[in-house]
Symmetry: C2
Subunit: 239 residues, 2 copies
Amino acid sequence: MMEKKSLEICFTPAIFEVHADSEAVVVVIDVLRATSSICTAFANGVRSIIPVSTVEEAKIMKKRGYLLAAERDGFVLDFADFGNSPYNFTAGKVKDRTVAYSTTNGTGIMKQASECHDVVIGSYLNFSALCNWLGEQDRKVIIVCAGWKSRFSLEDAVCAGAIAERLLEGGRFTTICDSVHAATDLWKCAKTDLMGYIEKAAQRSRLKEKGLDDCLKYCHTFDVTSVIPVLRSGRLVTI
Amino acid sequence: MMEKKSLEICFTPAIFEVHADSEAVVVVIDVLRATSSICTAFANGVRSIIPVSTVEEAKIMKKRGYLLAAERDGFVLDFADFGNSPYNFTAGKVKDRTVAYSTTNGTGIMKQASECHDVVIGSYLNFSALCNWLGEQDRKVIIVCAGWKSRFSLEDAVCAGAIAERLLEGGRFTTICDSVHAATDLWKCAKTDLMGYIEKAAQRSRLKEKGLDDCLKYCHTFDVTSVIPVLRSGRLVTI
């Protein structure tokens, strides 16, 4: 029997350095909407996604001929091909293509975590496939919530709690991380009425104000796909 | 009727700058044990407490003749008069004295927040007095959890949630802060068996390992005192 591995949750990229461990698998969560969109893109056959941190880098990638998905604060950058809604990443647009992708909160942490053993993309959409794969790795897992501009985000914490509960129930993980205890309790508060619970999240209000909340239910749907996007040499590809 | 004021919770000093607001009252929470000890010291008649960030500063204050309370990671610094247990701050030791005080997590944030309108000290020990006073200020309130070396701490989040619940129930505050929603839900999970809930907190284990957990129940006792320590010109005094 394998020794139980450590499980941690990091509630904001701003404190990632205190959780970082070069031997760990890092799971990045940005439910509304970056990691939900990335999982959708891979489900729809995208070849690879290049995470881009800054607006300047995004502009350069567009000039180099990449398909560009880029937004800031919910608004599509004017030189981008499309924004951050998962509904943009249709097979018609992305199948067999490489997409450069920059968002307000989700892409920066992928680069920040790239010195860890593996960086994978998590969401409700690939929940069971991801949890099963994590259970097989025999490695410490750090779930990082993308949050909002360094702040704590409720919808990411709840999803991290759902993953943590599943991993701990599987018996291959143990934790001494307070964030794991908090997130699993928040998930317990939320799970009987997930959409009702998420109503109070600030990001839910931000999307609503901009008419971008059509994907809310989709982004909270379990197991739409079994893809597990992983960062390899600066690109997201399927595992 | 006064306009409702904004309420935020900051889960770790590492992201204080994204919450900071020069017009706000900041409440610092470090249940185990700094802010519980500070409330105890004022209840026992200390004249003032000078928060000190570094070990070097603590050494200088001792040389200047101040009574020094200082610890790192639960261990009393060898040149200090005593450490961070609230039981050290007896009337016999601190009445009418000025104490220089440095801890692992609690004192740094007090200095960091000192540019806000007011910095006050919160704990279960002064809970009702603090909540009543905050309700009378007609100002935005930011509750900052001292946490553990930039990490999220469960016991601080739960206490922050208890304060937030009381303030929101009072009708003078409103919130769009996800951390407030999370903390009040954690408080709801914890409050029917607070001591049982805190068993899983990492800091509870750290104190136990060092035999420093004798104050655990005391630090989770409501309304032992009505003192509200406030930072004025770099010193904590009673309001």
